[in-house]
Symmetry: C2
Subunit: 151 residues, 2 copies
Amino acid sequence: MTKQSGMALALQQAHLAAANGEVPVGAVLLDSTGKVLAQAGNRVEELHDPSAHAEMLVMRKAVQQRQGQKLADCTLFVSLEPCPMCAAAMAHFRLGRVVFGAYDAKGGGVEHGARLPHRPETLHRMEVIGGVREREAAEMLRAFFQKLRCR
Amino acid sequence: MTKQSGMALALQQAHLAAANGEVPVGAVLLDSTGKVLAQAGNRVEELHDPSAHAEMLVMRKAVQQRQGQKLADCTLFVSLEPCPMCAAAMAHFRLGRVVFGAYDAKGGGVEHGARLPHRPETLHRMEVIGGVREREAAEMLRAFFQKLRCR
């Protein structure tokens, strides 16, 4: 699967999240053959769980399904740059690669702020690719927050 | 409840975790009246979930029980300095105060590494108290890992 089409799936999950009143961030996790292991949007409101970010949900689901096997062979597509919680979790899950859409200068923890995957004490190294279909992902978030403000 | 007795509960959860073959870290979450909202040890192995750290489990359980009400009025006692994932989650959960036992120079994200609660971009501010019953908490971890190495 190309980066473009992997991100298309993540954006689809972000759209579904927005329709449920969640901040529109979506994620999909693929193994090395391109098989979809899990996909989800944010479910923070629905689950009353501030940690129920799309990235956390797909990584947890996949490792549970694989009986504890971690994600070194996997790519996580996510529509927004992960926050520090998710960025640190990606190392705990031994994620092979993360591909994200929009950059998040305020809340991001991958290429902004603590930049966790790049810190010397983060022993797990993963491939990081940002800015894939960036405009679509950023526009979805912008539209969502503008609508919130106009209520 | 004093810091000492709050930490005693967290250490008890750490002991139970060790007995289940988990890395011995325990956590307990109290509201401002001293009522225990949730307590847990690490359940990473049991749940096949690398994010099932004691801190994450108690914060998620408490907010779910309170139907989404966050934790500004709460104190989290945890036997080990939280990792960056848990430290970032504490801000998402709007935790009021964290009291931890042993310092973790390699894996910690509160007073070591990214020091997330102290970073300028972490907008939520919480009280941080480290080193409570530090020797007991550190000794439990040391004994656990020594036993692992001798197998």
